[in-house]
């Protein structure tokens, strides 16, 4: 008398094939994550410079919903006028993120029609870097325009859920 068991050989071989496809997809998913297609990483981190060269922004093209992230803005010494730098941030990005802080703290912060204006007092014009930390509150693409005077750099961040 044999073992009382239902053998499903065709189903089993189909399952083996499906499993191997699944493992491959999982490996691709993790590789994409490692490369930065799904969040911060080598393929995601980028730097954009404005046409006039006054401002450049380093940011991650892909970021996550409800995750701490930051972007850094480098301001050229030429951007300093009368010991202050005036930087404007505008676009859907402003309403789509929860701004955690701007470092160093601006001397003045104004809300205008165009967006938010930050004024920094500069003592010794050199390489000026401003770091903005934020947490995305919207899912999808967010665009921001960072400008100094009429020199603007536009960037788009994709926020994944």
């Amino acid at each position: 008398m044999g073992l009382e068991i239902t053998r499903e050989e065709t189903f089993q071989s189909r399952e083996w094939r499906a499993e191997r496809i699944g493992w491959t997809l999982l490996a691709l998913f993790v590789a994409a994550g490692l490369a930065g297609l799904l969040g911060a990483g080598p393929l995601s981190d980028t730097t954009r410079e404005s046409p006039g060269g006054l401002v450049d922004v380093s940011y991650a093209r892909v970021t996550h919903f409800e995750a701490d992230d930051s972007l850094s803005v480098r301001l050229a010494p030429d951007a300093v006028e009368q010991d202050t730098v005036t930087m404007t941030v505008a676009g859907s990005w402003l309403s789509g993120v929860d701004l955690q802080g701007v470092s160093p703290q601006p001397g003045e912060e104004r809300l205008t029609d165009d967006g938010v204006v930050y004024e920094f007092d500069v003592e010794d014009p050199g390489d000026l870097t401003v770091t903005i930390t934020f947490r995305a509150q919207d899912v999808g693409p967010l665009t921001a325009d960072v400008s100094v005077g009429s020199d603007t750099v536009s960037l788009t961040q994709l926020v994944l859920p």
Binding site: W23, L26, A27, F29, V30, G33, L34, A35, G36, L38, G39, A40, G41, P42, S44, H64, F65, E66, A67, D68, L160, P161
Partner: protein, 152 residues
């Protein structure tokens, strides 16, 4: 990138720690062991997730851990030497009816543990009914009873 690296780091740390603690550590999950397991989960959570509460991040962490598990299974199958390193080897503790006390001492096992396993699996009553007992890599003790029929 962050999610994958965090998951790999935690995986390696836990693998090393649990390997060092030994086979028996969490083989039979008592109430207290269960609590310890929960606390281990709580303690690693922060390191795994950081300040990122997104689904993408969670999916990447879980995906990486599962892929590492799958990869480890494959590697230990492909290279048996690696299995020895990662999962240890089965250990004979009763050899043809003779209890190997030296081995028991090394593994901090008592005869009680063997007879307990024999009771659970085979309903045996005494140690002398056991022919073979093996401490498996999973941490459990498997028992082969002496044949029911009287030996010739």
């Amino acid at each position: 990138m962050d999610a994958v690296l965090r998951a790999v780091a935690i995986y390696l740390v836990l693998l090393l720690l649990f390997r060092l603690v030994g086979k028996r550590a969490l083989s039979q999950v008592t109430t207290f062991d269960f609590v310890i397991l929960l606390i281990v989960g709580e303690a690693t959570q922060q390191a795994l997730l950081g300040e990122d509460f997104s689904i993408t991040h969670a999916a990447l962490v879980v995906g990486t851990l599962l892929l590492l598990e799958r990869g480890a299974d494959y590697l230990t199958w492909r290279f048996p030497r690696l299995q020895r390193v990662a999962e240890s080897v089965p250990l004979v503790i009763v050899e043809d009816g003779r209890v190997l006390h030296e081995v028991l001492r090394k593994e901090h096992l008592s005869e009680e543990d063997i007879i307990g396993a024999a009771r659970e699996a085979h309903g045996l009553e005494r140690l002398d009914q056991i022919k073979w007992a093996v401490l498996e890599t999973s941490g459990g003790i498997s028992v082969v009873p002496k044949s029911q029929a009287p030996e010739a």
